[in-house]
């Protein structure tokens, strides 16, 4: 005989968000398999059953987390690049690297969780693809605009994306090679080098 002690209704979107937030925090701390649905609902201060009012399975929250992450990062990167003059390829590339690195610095573990530790069912690295595609386009456009010479922009995009992801991850993992500022500077220099620009140039 279930007794509803606190059946306080909230807008579905809000409840859903609270569940996602609790899940994100727990997945990050103990992994996906290491987190129980009950912990998530406890974290969101709802009853266990409420979880299934918003997600069909435990895996579904992860899916939702994935989408939320990708959208946020893509928005940030797009905005940063768009903030640069149309033909300043160097600036656009630097903006991309910087925005992406900052996004990862803020959410490296989350990215790891949703795309690496528990890869999406279909293809590995959907986010990777979305972001890499964006970078690919940028590099190809710069090459077309004469900013640099890159033969296979796809390869370079993958190369740079992973390099960036790695150094950021390393930094986030607590083995810092310096503060955030110097990280971004060093990253920029390496990105420039990778496309054949001289890092020190303005």
């Amino acid at each position: 005989m279930p007794i509803a002690l606190r059946p306080r209704t909230k807008p579905p979107a809000e409840r859903r968000d609270e569940l996602m937030n609790a899940a994100e925090r727990l997945f990050l701390a103990r992994g996906f398999e290491g987190t129980t649905v009950e912990e998530i609902t406890t974290g969101a201060e709802v009853a266990k059953g409420t979880f299934y009012l918003h997600f069909a399975t435990k895996g579904d929250v992860l899916e939702a987390l994935r989408e939320r992450f990708v959208q946020g990062l893509l928005d940030a990167v797009t905005a940063a690049v768009a903030g640069q003059p149309r033909d300043d390829w160097r600036g656009r590339l630097a903006a991309w690297a910087r925005a992406c690195a900052i996004g990862y610095l803020d959410a490296a573990s989350l990215h790891h969780l949703v795309f690496v530790a528990v890869p999406p069912p279909s293809r590995e690295g959907m986010a990777r693809n979305v972001l890499v595609d964006h970078l690919d386009d940028l590099i190809a456009a710069g090459a077309h605009g004469g900013a640099w010479t890159i033969e296979e922009s796809g390869f370079t995009a993958v190369f740079l994306f992973n390099a960036l992801h790695g150094v950021v991850n390393q930094a986030a993992a607590g083995e810092p090679t310096g503060d955030r500022g110097s990280l971004l500077r060093a990253l920029e220099a390496h990105v420039f080098r990778a496309v054949g620009l001289r890092p020190e140039a303005g």
Copy 2:
């Protein structure tokens, strides 16, 4: 009255290896959490209890797999670099990248399993560190020898290691940017660029 159809006992090392092989195959195919101890022992053709004669917990096999992987890759990379003239830094760097890439191409999923999907308990990327340290030493030595100018060899090592890992992984993931040969050539060119060498030079 049990009949010993096959030798019931084997040297511990051999049994252990068979269990590790079965575990590796299964972990790769179904993931760590998705594999049961019973499946491992069935795969190794021993009884369930035998597992615990060789490993204290399920996690321990993964640990052992990690160590086996790192040692093998490190040996290969070390040998490849040692095969180059002492002062041919360019050649040594290229050898490093090539050996490491080939090692990953041959065992990308295994690396993913033991270092990414189920990260080691203590610090993230022990293998990364062992291999990155090796690369770090190489870059620092080359800088010291005047082959290139790198201020923070550690950063560059992490940068390159992850870039390499990423492009190799992409290739392994079935979205090839070309065949293995062209992958290695493109990789070499980017590695050279990253340390400031001109790729096209011999």
Copy 3:
């Protein structure tokens, strides 16, 4: 701003009937345990909570279904028997068997559901008892009237009732021993024999 597309309220009796109809259909199709309250309310096109405005528990609908079934069948049987001359015992018995068989043929699964699959809490076969009692009375009256010789009318009533139920059920279960007409004829013959009448007699 909710818009009342259909009248939101209905006479209680009507709502209750709709819920019972939906429940009957679902219970028949998927069993009592296999049907959820939500499916019933969906079937009746009302909200989940509305169910509890009409029934205290899920078991209560079944109870209501039971009563509805018994009443209907008893009415039909009573009417059929009453349609025969007062002293035509043979005719009355045949009418009983025929009406009861037809009632079951039309609702065999429903009977099975409410009296067999989920027997009433208290005594087994309330319907059986109501109908059996009716038959018992009829047989006893016929014996008293000299139509046949039956010592324990109760036993014979139970015997006949179950025999009837069984052959009808078999027919309903899709393993017909003939069409409905021949079923009723064969049944009549067996019923007559069971009370010691010669079947072929007029």
Copy 4:
């Protein structure tokens, strides 16, 4: 960290039987859905997991119970009929009815459970069919041998089987129409009547 307090091994068949016995008792007392696996294992004095060493699902015990019941009853009935002279059709029919009734009197609820309350997945009443078929053969053989005149032995078999089942069930349900002996006598008389024999004859 599971601790085995009493890991006492028993022959699989014995454990399986103990689980089946516990399940039978509980299913009979509280129904299939009303019984939990844990109650079964508690009843059999084993741990929960042990259940799944012997049955894949909860439904599987019921299946096993079904088979055990049918086999036992069929054996008893066959033996009883075989104990009568080959051409004593009256005696064979009486033996059939008596053995079947006794079998049911001893296990009426069990029959109800395994064949009626939770019908087998495929067709309704496998036992019914097996036993009915047996009776069908007997009636047909008797008709062929001139013992009685029955046109549709299948119909009569179903009729008698269900009549028998009903009166026995009624008796078992605690509403006795007399003691076991008089039940069997009354049953015999009705069975004879149903095939057109005069009950009082020797």
